[in-house]
């Protein structure tokens, strides 16, 4: 039996980018911090676009520790949501435009989040990548790392636990 012809590249790219855009741009706080995401296949890298309002210590200057924590948490939540949604986006079950309107779509909820501050955040762009250590039906465990100029020199890392969105039980 002949294998079905793969979808044209533009179609795949357009669908995935539209879904990611809907997921990220719909959240006011992500826009407030000006965090964007680079996508290579299903792999995401968070980018914290530097701005003076992210400064915590004006004398050094350094990025606010709370901004670093928030950047790592946003990267963890988006990566987790993306991994959760990706199969449904690919199968056509979920329409990219409906991601933030669909009542069934929920973000994972943070249970706890622990940040290690390894170096001070310099006043320039920062990058973060999240690794899902385990994702079960109810709970997920995620590790996140953040760097600036040199990926081998992390300026912060974090681990967190998340409550996954539960499918609504339909009574009847």
């Amino acid at each position: 039996m002949p294998r079905p012809r793969p979808e044209p590249m533009q179609v795949v790219k357009q669908r995935r980018d539209a879904a990611l855009k809907a997921l990220v741009e719909g959240v006011p706080y992500i826009r407030f911090l000006d965090i964007s995401f680079d996508r290579r296949g299903d792999e995401l890298t968070g980018v914290l676009n530097f701005d003076d309002k992210l400064i915590g210590n004006p004398f050094l200057p350094a990025i606010h520790g709370g901004v670093t924590a928030a950047f790592l948490e946003v990267t963890a939540i988006i990566t987790l949501s993306w991994a959760h949604l990706f199969p449904q986006i690919e199968s056509g079950e979920v329409n990219p435009e409906d991601i933030l309107n669909d009542a069934r779509m929920r973000f994972p909820k943070t249970i706890d989040f622990t940040v290690d501050y390894l170096r001070s955040g310099l006043p320039r762009d920062a990058y973060a990548r999240a690794f899902i250590s385990r994702s079960g039906r109810r709970y997920a465990s995620v590790r996140v790392e953040a760097w600036q100029d040199n990926h081998a020199k992390l300026f912060a890392q974090a681990t967190g636990h998340f409550l996954m969105p539960q499918p609504r039980v339909t009574e009847g």
Binding site: Y29, F32, N57
Partner: protein, 139 residues
């Protein structure tokens, strides 16, 4: 002592990100600090519910813990976060001001230990708690 408290207040108010979040230092002194943040739609984490993003609460808790360290009688000067763990108990109620209270309960020459709580207008049920270790920097 009064000068130090005044200095800490000015320092917090000079933090660009604290300003961006609309943080207001409502109490500081003797290793304790209280900071409040009025509800702001820019900080929403889920547009379907209007709930403030956990990251904004983390930023508040971090600022409040740092302020508590600096106000401690044994702290000579500045501080930086070594580690901070945050437990999220529930979503903050949309429309309500969030208030954080931090206590620096132990300090050595090099390390300060801090606990903090974040509350909305329902003071009986905390929104989040934090526990962290901070550096103790010289003047």
């Amino acid at each position: 002592m009064v000068d130090k408290i005044k200095l800490a207040r000015q320092f917090i108010e000079a933090i660009p990100h604290a300003k961006a979040l609309g943080l207001e230092l409502t109490h500081i002194g003797a290793g304790e600090a209280e900071i409040s943040m009025p509800y702001n739609t820019d900080l929403i984490g889920d547009p379907r519910t209007g709930v403030i993003h956990g990251g904004a609460v983390s930023a508040m808790l971090d600022t409040c813990c740092g302020a508590a360290v600096m106000s401690h009688p044994s702290a000579p000067g500045g501080t930086a976060t070594i580690d901070l763990r945050i437990d999220y108990m529930r979503a903050a109620t949309p429309g309500q001001t969030i208030t954080t209270k931090a206590t620096c309960y132990h300090i050595t020459r090099n390390v300060a230990f801090v606990r903090a709580t974040a509350m909305d207008e329902d003071a009986d049920r905390p929104v989040a708690t934090a526990a962290g270790a901070f550096t103790v920097e010289g003047k």
